[in-house]
């Protein structure tokens, strides 16, 4: 359902949750009108009806009313709670990234957006996506804060140096939409934008075909993994490999030496390549060398993509690993540090 097209005041509405945001907006406008009209009418009515008829009159005294005060405290409170709930529901939708989304990587930089697709296409300040597919953006920045904003999709998120932030959307209508940088980032902040092209799947495939620049990230990652960086010397697979098993780990919980578990998300894989011994997988020695300084940011993206692809073509063991409780990330991270302190002092 799209509420936008017939109201010229609304921007394009082109994602699955944009109607929800519009509906929430409409609801709030409704509430605003419902409060504004009576109050303004009352003000005008009182101001005119009870206008000063005699200088220095002393109109009848009136005392406050507890009943009224209670009523007009509770009603706004209840209404504001509905606003909060509405917002919370939409927010949940906006920030809960679905699992089956197509990956796109975004790096912000003063003042351009560098974007790479899961299939290897790179673009700058443009983003091509197919209609009807869920797209997940994994984003970071090389310098200051930026904000990836697509009004037509009703979503945006800051990109923060030193961290990944995520957002997702599913476009519903082919077209060309504005892409902005919405967090002030210096001189050319207002120039740091471009377009999002939403295309039918067929057109998108054509675009992909016409634009292939050598390898997809997965291919490139595979190449790096097997030949260029020699990861395969330890992670070749098979029974007695030295390195941890990488098939099927993505988004599963990994048990670490010391008992903690972490979820193998992009950041974790990235860290495993850059700081292997920070989080050592249970049952292995911390022998993996770091690749920091040897791999570029883009190669990292490819490696991560490749390792994720290893989880795509499945592995039976992932079942057993997934058995570990899922809700660990925040709890484990914060509680883990001190808990085994006793061991440390033995």
């Amino acid at each position: 359902m799209q509420t936008s097209s017939w109201v010229p005041l609304f921007p394009d509405s082109a994602s699955t949750f944009s109607w929800q945001v519009d509906a929430l907006y409409a609801y709030l406008i409704l509430i605003s009108v419902a409060f504004t009209i009576p109050i303004v009418v009352a003000i005008f009515f009182f101001a005119i009806k009870y206008r000063e008829r005699e200088k220095y009159a002393t109109p009848e005294e009136m005392h406050g009313s507890i009943v009224l005060e209670t009523v007009w405290s509770i009603i706004p409170f209840v209404i504001s709670m509905t606003i909060f709930l509405g917002g919370a529901i939409v927010y949940y939708e906006q920030y809960r990234v679905p699992d089956d989304a197509m990956d796109v990587y975004v790096v912000g930089k003063q003042w351009m957006w560098k974007i790479q697709h899961g299939t290897g296409q790179r673009e700058i300040n443009e983003l091509h996506v197919p209609v009807g597919r869920k797209v997940k953006l994994t984003m970071t920045t090389e310098d200051v804060l930026h904000d990836f904003s697509i009004p037509a999709f009703r979503t945006k998120a800051d990109v923060v140096p030193g961290r990944y932030t995520y957002m997702w959307f599913e476009a519903t209508k082919p077209g060309k939409y504005h892409l902005y940088c919405a967090e002030y980032c210096g001189l050319n902040h207002s120039g740091m934008g471009g377009w999002v092209y939403v295309m039918e799947q067929r057109d998108f495939d054509n675009w992909l075909a016409g634009n292939v620049s050598g390898q997809t990230p997965v291919e490139q990652g595979k190449d790096l993994f097997q030949n260029k960086l020699g990861c395969a010397s330890c992670h070749a697979g098979g029974a007695d490999q030295r390195g941890a098993k990488l098939e099927g780990i993505f988004n599963k919980d990994v048990k670490l030496v010391g008992g903690a578990t972490v979820k193998a998300d992009e950041a974790y894989i990235r860290n495993s390549i850059l700081n292997p011994s920070a989080q050592v997988v249970e049952g292995y020695q911390p022998i993996m060398p770091t690749f920091k300084g040897q791999v570029t940011e883009e190669q990292l993206v490819s490696l991560v993509a490749y390792i994720k692809s290893l989880s795509g073509d499945t592995s039976p063991t992932s079942q057993s690993q997934a058995a570990a409780p899922a809700a660990n990330t925040s709890a484990a991270n914060t509680v883990a540090p001190a808990k085994p302190a006793a061991n440390a002092n033995k």
């Binding site: 700081n275 011994s277 989080q279 022998i287 440390a344």
Partner: protein, 304 residues
């Protein structure tokens, strides 16, 4: 100031020190004391911002904080705590004698308070100097420059009850390579400091931020670890620096009090300035009461 106020004063009895806007001494005292307390609330929030920063970073990098803390000399810190406590006592006694109208004891106590306050700052200078010599000032170029390969000097003072591990190590051989900072950069004692995260690593109880933040090359990375220790020292210097600034201001107030007391300006009826300065002094003391354990005493037991 204004002529109006002056004529006003001619007609009314005015207690010494009563200002024109007040009706009587009680109102003035009440105003001044509320004013002072509200000012202290403001001060607490001012330091509060720093404590928040401390909290955030300590909860992320406990090991680096412990390592940084072990570079601080708990003896000097403890001594300074005692010095401040004594000065608090003499300050309290100043107020006590002011209430009693005892001018001579008042002067003595103020002098003592100032003496201890100065001692505190003196010790601070020794400590800062020590940090300077060991390359522990978090700012590049603000440290004593040591040439490549040169040994650093041994820690200045170690007392019998000083932490064993810390003391013995500081005085024996220090590894040469990591104690060279030709440009005066921040440096840490790798051997000693890295012990902590290593111990932690064995026990696997690093925080998530630490698991990411200390490592590269598949190992604990002294460079990266040093950055985190440097955050500790940054916070240390800002906090103790601001505290010292408050002490200096306090000494200024004391000097003024001394002058006033000397001239016998206070009496049983009028000693508000003494009491208010006392509140300020005690507040500065309280800040230190928290700074001491939070900065100087972290992770001592690890090295025991």
């Amino acid at each position: 100031m204004s002529s109006h106020a002056d004529t006003h004063e001619e007609f009314h009895y005015h207690a010494p020190g009563l200002q024109h806007q007040f009706e009587d001494m009680k109102q003035q005292e009440e105003s001044v004391s509320i004013g002072m307390w509200v000012f202290l609330v403001q001060e607490i929030m001012f330091f509060g911002g720093l404590f928040t920063a401390y909290l955030v970073f300590r909860s992320r990098f406990p090991m680096a904080f412990a390592a940084g803390s072990n570079h601080l000399d708990a003896f000097w810190g403890g001594l300074n705590t005692l010095v401040l406590i004594v000065s608090s006592l003499t300050m309290a006694l100043t107020v006590y004698y002011a209430q009693k109208g005892n001018r001579n004891m008042q002067v003595v106590m103020i002098v003592l308070t100032m003496l201890f306050g100065t001692t505190f700052l003196g010790v601070k200078v020794i400590e800062y100097r020590d940090k300077y010599e060991h390359g522990l000032v978090p700012v590049q170029g603000w440290n004593k420059k040591v040439k490549e390969g040169e040994h650093k000097e041994a820690a200045s003072v170690v007392l019998p009850f000083e932490t064993r591990a810390f003391a013995s190590e500081a005085q024996t051989e220090a590894p040469a390579v990591h104690h060279s900072n030709p440009k005066g950069e921040f440096q840490i004692d790798v051997e000693k400091d890295m012990k902590l995260p290593k111990m932690a690593e064995d026990g696997k109880f690093l925080t998530q931020a630490e698991q990411v933040g200390y490592y590269s090359n598949g190992k604990l990375d002294p460079e990266k670890f040093r950055d985190k220790v440097r955050i500790f020292f940054y916070i240390y210097f800002v906090m103790t620096g601001l505290h010292a600034l408050h002490m200096i201001v306090g000494l200024g107030i004391m000097a003024w009090l001394l002058w006033m007391a000397w001239r016998n300006s206070f009496s049983i009826d009028y000693y508000m300035p003494v009491e208010m300065s006392g509140l300020y002094w005690h507040f500065v003391d309280i800040v230190w009461i928290f700074l001491f354990p939070l900065l100087y005493l972290l992770g001592r037991h690890f090295l025991h």
